[in-house]
Structure formats: structure tokens, C-alpha cells
């Protein structure tokens, strides 16, 4: 039985944690949070690239290190812990994965740019309020040119290359579009998590090329769901640690508030949620790495559990800290905001609950 990270992976984690402690203190996060003009921390991004993090899972022939998705899960968890203000998920879990899964030989050449830090990715799906649905999609490719407005796009200001969901002939599929093209107009939009980048992007006849088939977007989101679950668990565990620490130190009525059952049981519930999320995420990692047929249900379960855990931990982390936890200067609200950001970045937990049920239905049909 080997249902845990390996010794090598724990080593990777220690390295990553040390690196991020040095390079991604809370000041780095607040630097982006407090400055509306900054989409991300460029120094941190450059340092990650230098460490080979964007190259970790890329094939060696494209300048990558050829490591596994489980290794990437380790980095994801550590990035989530420190609220890293960088477009890592958009670039590595989404763009690079799409290229590796479905890119033509020419398209896959872009992987070299990702490995070298010359390319930042994003995925552009939403076009306004409500979960996106193929039937309502307006963005369209006509004569190889993309027309439409995507709102919002996570990391849309920082990105150089976008995956864009658009109508093309009778199909709704992903396309690669270069965001530096003059036909592209983009601007930041105010977001619940100002430490992360959010954009409105208008395409007005932007050259683009399709990537993968109609099923790619769902397969891609399944994969990203597992990796983002680890970011969420990293954040949720950090909230738990901080809250436990505070509950031991903070006194009321002559004793630590952590000796009161109201706080004690709240933190026990937080721990339980985080463990439930972790176990589901491990199964997701196994399904991702092993190419299991169960990936859709495993990924959805990982995401649903992780969204719940992070939201609860962030929300009750503030409550545990009391008044001080509600101030701008305290770090609790950064997790509250990030929990919401990660909840919504690739489809809300609401949508993923439904997706989980559908995946379990499909599995049940298989079993019969």
C-alpha cells in the first residue's frame, strides 16, 4: 500500500517550501494585492521559472524535466499555502497540459517557451454571468479569425497565449490565440481577490488555430481540478495551522480560547474537512497520473471536497481570530479571497457537484 507521496516527493516539497518561504513572503502577496496595476509578481515568476517549476512536467524534448503529475501536485500544494500571486495554474495546469494532450507538433513547440518562462497562459471561457454553456457561447471563429468578448479571464492581463473556447463551424472547441496581436484589447477588472489577475479580453478578428477536439475542454478541466485541489488544500491547511496557533496563544476568560469547545470543535471540523479533501485529492492525483477511467469522478470529488475545505477554513479562520481577523492588516482575508478565487476559477463548486453526480452515473452505468 502506497497511497501517499513518496520520499522523493517529500524531498521536493521541502525544497519548494524553503524556496517559497524565502521568495514568497506575505509582503510579496500584498504587493500585488495593494497595487491594482500589477497582474502578478514578476520577480517571483522569474524565480519559479529559474527553478524549473514551469518545466517540471514538460517532456524533455521541449526543455522540460519530464516529471509526473504527482510531483506537480506537491508544488501546487506549496503554492497554495503561500497564496502565490503568479499565473502558474493558467500556464502549467491548463495551457501546457492542453498542448501536451492535444497539440500538433507545431503547437507543442510552444512548450519550450513555457519551460523557458517566455510564455504565460490563460483559459478564456466565460462570457458574462452564469456558468458557461456551449449553447449560449457567442465567441466565434470566422475564416480563422476570432471574434468576441471574454469576461472574465483569470490571468488574462499577464498572459501571452490564450486557450479560447469559441464556436467554429458546428463545433464548440478550444483555440490558441496570441494575445499580443493588435486585434486584442484587454483591461483589468476589479476582483474579489486582487492578489490575482482578472481581465476582460475582446477579440476583434484575432488570428487563431483550433486545438484538440470538442472533448478537450472537459478533459483539461478534470486535470486542472486535481491540481487546483492541491492549491486549495495548501491554503486550507495554512488557515488551520494559523488558527490553531492563534487559539493556543489568545486568551479569554483566563484561558486559551482553544480550550473552549466552540473553538476546539470548529478547528476539529476544519481538520476533518482538510483530511477529507486531502484523501480525495490523493485519489485524484492517482487517477491523473495513472490515466484511470475514473478521473472524471475522482477529479470532481477532489474539487468539491477541496472547495468546501478551503472555504470553511478561510471563513472560520477569520471567525477564530475574532475582530483582529477582520482587519485588512491581518492575513485571514487573503485566504477568504483566494478561496473564492479558486472556487470560481475553473467552474464553481456548484457546477462541479453536478459534474460529480454525472460522472458517478457514468461509472455506475459502466459497472452494470
Amino acid at each position: 500500500m502506497n497511497f501517499d507521496f513518496s520520499e522523493d516527493q517529500e524531498h521536493l516539497r521541502n525544497e519548494a517550501r524553503r524556496f517559497l518561504e524565502a521568495r514568497c513572503g506575505i509582503g510579496v502577496v500584498r504587493g500585488v494585492l495593494d497595487d491594482g496595476a500589477r497582474s502578478h509578481d514578476a520577480d517571483l515568476w522569474a524565480a519559479l521559472v529559474e527553478q524549473g517549476w514551469t518545466a517540471l512536467t514538460l517532456p524533455e524534448e521541449h526543455g522540460g524535466l519530464g516529471m509526473g503529475r504527482t510531483d506537480l501536485c506537491v508544488l501546487a500544494e506549496e503554492l497554495g499555502r503561500v497564496l502565490a500571486p503568479v499565473p502558474f495554474a493558467s500556464t502549467v495546469y491548463l495551457l501546457a497540459e492542453a498542448l501536451m494532450m492535444a497539440g500538433t507538433a507545431a503547437q507543442r513547440e510552444r512548450l519550450k517557451d513555457i519551460a523557458a518562462g517566455r510564455c504565460i497562459g490563460c483559459i478564456a471561457i466565460a462570457e458574462g454571468p452564469g456558468e458557461p454553456s456551449p449553447a449560449r457561447l457567442a465567441a466565434e471563429v470566422r475564416g480563422g479569425r476570432l471574434h468576441g468578448v471574454k469576461l472574465p479571464v483569470v490571468d488574462g492581463n499577464a498572459a501571452t497565449l490564450a486557450l479560447v473556447l469559441a464556436r467554429n463551424g458546428g463545433q464548440v472547441r478550444l483555440h490558441l490565440a496570441d494575445l499580443t496581436d493588435p486585434s486584442v484589447t484587454r483591461a483589468p477588472v476589479d476582483t474579489l481577490d486582487p492578489a490575482r489577475d482578472l481581465a476582460r479580453i475582446a477579440f476583434d478578428g484575432t488570428p487563431c488555430e483550433p486545438i484538440g477536439d470538442e472533448g478537450l475542454v472537459d478533459r483539461l478541466l478534470d486535470r486542472a481540478a486535481v491540481l487546483i485541489a492541491f492549491e486549495q488544500i495548501g491554503g486550507a491547511d495554512r488557515c488551520l495551522e494559523t488558527s490553531v496557533e492563534f487559539a493556543k496563544m489568545r486568551y479569554a476568560f483566563g484561558r486559551p480560547i482553544g480550550s473552549q469547545q466552540a473553538i476546539k470543535h470548529k478547528l476539529a471540523d476544519m481538520y476533518v474537512n482538510n483530511q477529507i479533501a486531502r484523501s480525495n485529492a490523493y485519489y485524484g492525483a492517482w487517477a491523473l497520473e495513472s490515466g484511470s477511467d475514473e478521473l472524471p469522478s475522482a477529479a470532481a470529488a477532489a474539487r468539491v471536497a477541496a472547495c468546501h475545505a478551503y472555504w470553511y477554513a478561510a471563513r472560520e479562520g477569520i471567525q477564530t481570530h475574532g475582530g483582529i481577523g477582520f482587519t485588512w492588516e491581518a492575513d485571514q482575508h487573503l485566504h477568504y479571497r483566494r478561496a473564492l478565487q479558486l472556487d470560481m476559477t475553473i467552474g464553481s463548486p456548484r457546477a462541479w457537484r453536478d459534474r460529480l453526480f454525472s460522472a458517478l452515473e457514468a461509472q455506475a452505468d459502466e459497472e452494470l
Binding site: I125, A126, G128, P129, G130, E131, P132, S133, A135, R136, L151, P152, V154, V189, D190, T191, L192, D193, L198, F246, K248, M249, R250, Y251, A252, F253, G254, R255, P256, Q260, A262, I263, W311, R315, I318, Q319, G322, G323, I324, G325, F326, T327, W328, E329, A330, Q332, H333, Y336, L340, Q341, D343, M344, T345, G347, S348, P349, R350, A351, R353
Partner: protein, 403 residues
């Protein structure tokens, strides 16, 4: 069961309405910021004082109308209906001045009561501290006797309105070697006194409603003491008992607004209003929010029958705050990624829902945390026994303390 006034209440409401119709219509609408709102509120307060509506339940000798709590409620309802300004003076007239009237010498009462009733002077309370939040008696701000004066040093926190207040009610520790509740004394302070520094607190919601107030060797006269030395806790309890029973105000958008938003939010091939999960969750939240509003009518009924409402009113904030948090999250979540957009021009209901989501954590804490409110309900309504107290009978200086 009905919602109608008794004949006496109806008569009072008619009188109040006549007064309001005669005087409130001419009030200017504030156009600027907080200071402008304060100016209008002062003007209105003076008009009310001239006609005996400023402190309806106070005795006539102190400028009140000797009225009932129910009359006060009716007047507030009629004020609210007309949108006149009612903020700024609640803490002063509800909490500080009754304490001054009860504990200050005659000449100070004369000095303070009139201007406060007319809105000419604003008061705030200086009770909470970094280490005295839920555990209010844990105050560490020191008052040290120096001849006929006292020297104050320490920090107060979560002080509403300190930046526009003239005076404050302050509780300080005068003897750390006595047990916690016994070494406290109450004072009033002039907030313009040297050594007082007022800093706004930046909240996670972006708002600035509270202040930190620092006291650095602030010298006050012993004549500013309210009650005996060491009796501060008793005076504080008196002050807080005068706080208006707060049943929790209605929070969040009205049901019709939310339904309109749900109908406008695409979900799958239909809208959010067709989604079983949303319908069920909204229904559950609605009955709780609605239940709190309706519980207030029961409280008013008790008042109308001459009873004094008890601590059961504390269910209001407890329920509303959590429901607001979950409802606003649910609405935002249903927007998909678009829900992340926190821009008044783009997001639903002009950003109200996003504001609620970022504000709700504070509501769950301010004025009694969820946990403290549950304790109050359990102990004071249900009569369950208190927990063992380890710090009650030992000198405060030796009681275990944390951050």
C-alpha cells in the same frame, strides 16, 4: 394575531407622523461624506429636542418625554419610513448619557445632557481593547492616581465614531492586584485631550467604521470619574443594560430582488431560478431570515404588552450574519467565474452582494461573536450552567494572559 397598533399606539403614531410630516420634509439631503451627514443629523436632532422627541423614554426632567419603549419604537419606525438621519447619537444617548446622569455630579449632568440631546456634542464608548473583546473585563488600559488626577495609558479598539466624537466613556484598570472584575473604574474623557491619538481601522471589507484610540500619559481629573474606584464593572453593566435591544436588522437583498437576479442568471439551459439546488437552499435561508424579522414583531408585541424583552433578541444577529454570508456566496457562485468580478458597475445589484460577502465576517464578530451569542442564549435564556472560571478570584496581574 395581527400587526395593528393598540388604540393608544395608533394615537401616538398619528401624533408622531404629524410632527414628522411638519418638520422632516424640509431637511436637506446630505450630498457629501460623513461630516455632511453628521451636520444634517445634528440639525434634525435639535428639531426633535425642541419638540420632545429626542429621548422619548427619558424622564422629562432630563429633556425626555417620559414615554414608553413602544412609543420610541413607533417613532423610529415613522422616522425610518421617511428616511431621516438617525445615526451618530445612538451610543451617546443610549449608553453614555444615561451613565453620566446616573453617576456624574449635578453640575456635569447639567453641562453634558442638554448639548448631547441636541446633537451638539457626540459621545462614544471606549470599552473594547486588543485583549478585551469577548472577555470585556480583561481591559488592561491603566489609570494611575496622581494627586487629584489620573494618568491614562493604553489602547482601546473597535471604537465606533471616535473620530467625530467629543467625549467618550472609558473603562480602565485602576488596581491590577485585585481580581479581574474588581480593579476597574469608569471615567469620561475629552477626546481632544493631549496624549490621545485616534487611528482608523482598515477593515477587510475595505470600509473604515471603527477606530483604535491610544492613550499616552493622558491626564484627567478625578472629577471625571463615574462611580467609585473599583466599581467600574458595575458601571459598565449599567451602561450596557441601557443599550437598545437589537433584534438584528434585516440584512441582504429582499426576496423579490434575489428572485429577479436568479431569473436573470443563466444556468445550464435555463436559469438559476429553475435550479433545484438553488431553490432549496434559498428557501432554507429565506425562512431563517424571515423568521428573524418576524421574531422582532413578537418582541414588539411583548413591549406593547408592557413586558421587557430579554436576551432572546440576540438570535437576530446570530442568524442573519451567517445566512447573509452563505446567501451572498451562493449568489456569487452561481455567476460562475463572473462572480469574481467585484465592480459596482458590472456585478449584480450594484455590488451589494459582493459587499455583503466581504462584510458578513465582521457582522459575525462585532457586537458579540456567534460563539458568545450562543453562550448568552444557552445560559441566560435556557438557564444552562456557566463554564468553570479560572480567572475570577485571583489578582488580575497573576491571571494567565495570552496575546
Amino acid at each position: 394575531m395581527d400587526f395593528s397598533d393598540t388604540p393608544e399606539e395608533a394615537a401616538y403614531r398619528a401624533r408622531a407622523a404629524a410632527f414628522l410630516d411638519a418638520h422632516a420634509a424640509d431637511l436637506p439631503r446630505p450630498t457629501g461624506g460623513e461630516m455632511d451627514r453628521l451636520a444634517v443629523a445634528r440639525r434634525w436632532q435639535a428639531i426633535k429636542a425642541d419638540h420632545g422627541y429626542a429621548c422619548i423614554t427619558w424622564p422629562r426632567e432630563w429633556g425626555g418625554a417620559g414615554g414608553t419603549a413602544m412609543e420610541q419604537v413607533i417613532f423610529r419606525q415613522e422616522e425610518a419610513r421617511r428616511g431621516v438621519p438617525i445615526a451618530f447619537f445612538g451610543i451617546g444617548l443610549g449608553l453614555c448619557l444615561p451613565t453620566v446622569i446616573r453617576y456624574a455630579p449635578a453640575e456635569q449632568r447639567e453641562r453634558f445632557v442638554g448639548p448631547a440631546i441636541r446633537g451638539e456634542q457626540v459621545w462614544c464608548q471606549l470599552f473594547s481593547e486588543p485583549a478585551a473583546g469577548s472577555d470585556l473585563a480583561g481591559v488592561r488600559t491603566r489609570a494611575v492616581r496622581d494627586g487629584d488626577d489620573w494618568i491614562l495609558n493604553g489602547q482601546k479598539l473597535w471604537t465606533s465614531g471616535a473620530h467625530y466624537s467629543d467625549y467618550g466613556l472609558l473603562i480602565a484598570r485602576t488596581d491590577p492586584d485585585l481580581p479581574k472584575h474588581k480593579g476597574l473604574t469608569m471615567f469620561w474623557v475629552d477626546l481632544k485631550a493631549p496624549g490621545i491619538e485616534i487611528r482608523p481601522i482598515h477593515q477587510m471589507s475595505g470600509g473604515v467604521e471603527f477606530n483604535e484610540v491610544f492613550f499616552n500619559d493622558v491626564r484627567i481629573s478625578d472629577a471625571q470619574r463615574l462611580g467609585e474606584v473599583g466599581e467600574g464593572w458595575k458601571v459598565a453593566i449599567f451602561a450596557l443594560m441601557n443599550e437598545r435591544v437589537e433584534g438584528g436588522k434585516d440584512r441582504g437583498l429582499p426576496a423579490a430582488r434575489i428572485i429577479a437576479i436568479a431569473r436573470a442568471t443563466p444556468a445550464g439551459d435555463a436559469t438559476l431560478a429553475d435550479d433545484g439546488a438553488f431553490r432549496a437552499a434559498f428557501a432554507d435561508g429565506y425562512v431563517r431570515m424571515r423568521g428573524v424579522s418576524l421574531t422582532r414583531y413578537r418582541t414588539l408585541t411583548a413591549m406593547s404588552r408592557g413586558q421587557t424583552p430579554g436576551p432572546e433578541a440576540s438570535i437576530g444577529k446570530l442568524v442573519m450574519a451567517s445566512e447573509l454570508q452563505e446567501l451572498s456566496r451562493r449568489l456569487i457562485e452561481a455567476q460562475g467565474a463572473y462572480g469574481l468580478i467585484d465592480d459596482e458597475a458590472l456585478s449584480m445589484a450594484d455590488g451589494t452582494v459582493h459587499h455583503d460577502l466581504l462584510h458578513a465576517p465582521g457582522i459575525r464578530i462585532a457586537g458579540g461573536t456567534d460563539e458568545i451569542l450562543r453562550n448568552i442564549i444557552a445560559e441566560r435564556v435556557l438557564g444552562l450552567p456557566a463554564e468553570p472560571r479560572v480567572d475570577k478570584d485571583i489578582p488580575f496581574s497573576q491571571a494567565p494572559k495570552g496575546i
